[in-house]
């Protein structure tokens, strides 16, 4: 540590505001990085999680539970492939049910990862540094879960490649005027670009792990994955340009993906879906649920691995503010939904809205309002934003609320549309629940593996942060 002190002695003759403790302590937000860290200490701390720490009992128990749930998912999927999608409660008129609800829910969760890593990078929000790697991994795993649902919902997933345009003996093309086909391109592009972005961020850190580990096998594996990264000035120069460009590309991409998911609904003539405000509303909801999921995962992670120095209260506070802001946008969305149903003068629109609020699934609407509108209001208070239990609880509640929202949009709109003779209530089966809970198991299985095998925080970006902080000091 002493070698970092060099060169700072001149500051004594030139005191700045930072030297006045009384001034600093009043209104400065919590730091992005706790003071006292060096290049070496941040490197050792993060890489030790992967390289030297014993696999904790908590990890094994958590992994075992997630893995069991994932097995349940596979079991349900095998049964689904054998018997067809009749095992689900999905039936006319509710032809889109749990699988599509789960798809939209998962893909929305994924969006915060890209937002944190790309948009906040472009906006020079340096607090993103400690959470972007983890959020990107979360994106990847959430999109993996999301992508499975439309595939399984097709009934014959083994011919999924019919959605991809290729010269075929059937002499057919996909219908390129349909948002459902746009979705195929949007989600697969999003998944691919997220992998590239995430892996690119990992390359210098994989090189760090390669150089830090004493295990020959790990050295070879991390070495191969790092592609022989040496951190030369020429490397870094191209790397930074590429990383910035990828961030710039990912930003409109993330908006387009959830807009297209919104258009899946908006182009349908079903009352409650056929509205131009779906795309922006879906994007706001995606950010809202994604930030909540990052918070849900980050709070236990930082205390288990002692990462409080890197994921500080400042991060949690900022994320709570984003949740509050996007939650308010959601409230605006719900309010305008009600107003425009009334203002449209269309009896079907009016009925669907009334049916959402007061119909047989009214509980889900009021649950949604409580979860997404009422609880986030706690974050107006600074004291609440500083309380870990409140942050954790509200973030879980928001995730539940966002699932309910997609349930309301998909199921309630469909179960009573135009002709009362075609109305029917929807009843999910045990397989619907197994697939939902099982996909959560898949998500956590991947996350547990990630936390154990790869650095959860971007080490080289933390070193940059240490460098910048030192220069400012």
């Amino acid at each position: 540590m002493s070698r970092r002190k060099r060169g700072k002695s001149r500051d004594v003759t030139n005191p700045t505001v930072a030297d006045e403790p009384a001034l600093v302590s009043i209104r400065t937000p919590a730091p992005v990085l706790e003071p006292g860290h060096t290049f070496g200490s941040v490197t050792d701390k993060i890489s030790s999680i992967v390289l030297t720490r014993q696999t904790s009992r908590g990890w094994i128990v958590g992994f075992a539970i997630s893995f069991t749930l994932m097995m349940a998912f596979l079991y349900a999927t095998a049964y689904l492939l054998a018997r067809g999608i009749g095992i689900w409660g999905t039936t006319i008129p509710v032809g889109w049910a749990f699988p599509i609800v789960n798809f939209v829910w998962w893909i929305g969760i994924g969006h915060a990862g890209t937002l944190i890593s790309a948009v906040l990078l472009l906006l020079h929000q340096e607090w993103r540094t400690s959470i972007n790697r983890f959020a990107e991994a979360m994106t990847l795993f959430a999109v993996s879960c999301a992508g499975l649902f439309p595939l399984l919902h097709m009934g014959r997933p083994w011919v999924f490649y019919w959605m991809i345009p290729y010269p075929n003996t059937m002499d057919l093309w996909p219908n390129f005027r349909s948002p459902l086909v746009w979705d195929v391109f949007a989600v697969s592009t999003y998944f691919t670009v997220s992998i590239l972005f995430w892996y690119m961020g990992l390359i210098p850190d994989l090189a760090t792990l390669r150089d830090r580990t004493r295990n020959r096998f790990a050295q070879v594996v991390y070495g191969m994955m790092a592609f022989g990264w040496r951190g030369s000035a020429a490397h870094w120069q191209r790397y930074e340009v590429a990383y910035l460009l990828l961030a710039g590309l990912a930003t409109p991409l993330v908006v387009s993906v959830h807009s297209i998911v919104g258009m899946d609904f908006a182009t349908g003539i079903v009352p409650g879906w056929h509205t131009t405000f779906s795309p922006p509303f879906f994007v706001a909801g995606a950010i809202f649920s994604g930030f909540a999921m990052v918070m849900t995962l980050m709070i236990p992670l930082r205390s288990i691995y002692g990462l409080q120095d890197f994921v500080t209260m400042r991060h949690l506070d900022n994320m709570a503010k984003v949740i509050l802001a996007t939650g308010s946008m959601m409230f605006y969305g719900y309010a305008s939904e009600l107003f425009f149903a009334y203002y449209s003068g269309n009896q079907y629109e009016r009925y669907v809205t009334l049916n959402r609020v007061l119909g047989p699934y009214g509980w889900s609407y009021w649950g949604l309002i409580a979860c997404n509108v009422v609880f986030p209001q706690l974050f107006w208070s600074r004291r609440m934003r500083q309380s870990i239990p409140v942050l954790f609880m509200v973030s879980v509640i928001v995730n539940v609320g966002m699932w309910l929202e997609r349930f309301i949009i998909v199921v309630i709109s469909l179960h009573r549309d135009f002709l009362p003779s075609a109305w029917r209530n929807y009843h999910p089966t045990i397989w619907d629940y197994t697939h939902l809970v099982g996909s959560i198991g898949l998500f956590f299985t991947l996350l547990f593996l990630f936390v154990r095998l790869l650095p959860v925080i971007s080490i080289f970006e933390l070193r940059s942060l240490v460098h910048e902080t030192d220069e400012e000091a």
């Binding site: 060096t38 690119m200 040496r230 030369s232 000035a233 020429a234 120069q237 460009l245 990828l246 460098h467």
Partner: protein, 181 residues
Amino acid sequence: MGAPSKPESLYGLLAEFEHAEDLLHAARTAYAAGYRQMNGYTPFPLEGLSGALGQKPTRLPWLVFCGGLVGGGAAYLMLYYASVISYPLNVGGRPLHSWPSFIPITFELTVLGASFAAFFGMLALNGLPHPHHPLFAVPAFSLATRDRFFLCIQVRDPLFRIETTRRFLEGLAARVHEVQP
């Protein structure tokens, strides 16, 4: 073996620094002294180092631009070919070339093409994957991914003379390592 001042059995001389500023200073000094075949190695992107070493800005943005053009162009042509030439289908009297509905897929594939160009272009221009490199044989170099800064002047630099270059680097850095090829 060649002339003693240009030993064939050497890749270069590697100077080790503890502080980023020292490396920047050394890079500027070495460039001013006329050295060109050299590179700096840092644990994080160090602003200004590339310029101090006289490296030109990368052409990567052009590559990414071309990747985007290829992706978007190919997408639009594919959509046009499928909807107008190969399988003209009258959907509710809409024109066959209904370009607004072609925009989303064109956009997605533009982003995909540009992202592939950014990722693989970065690797290709950097000459990666390159699992073995002479520098990896220097034990101290493993700290280049932790907290040390390095400057390597290669033998192939026309000004490289083993004694003078070593003395030059020793005037700037605490430790100088020989790098075997």
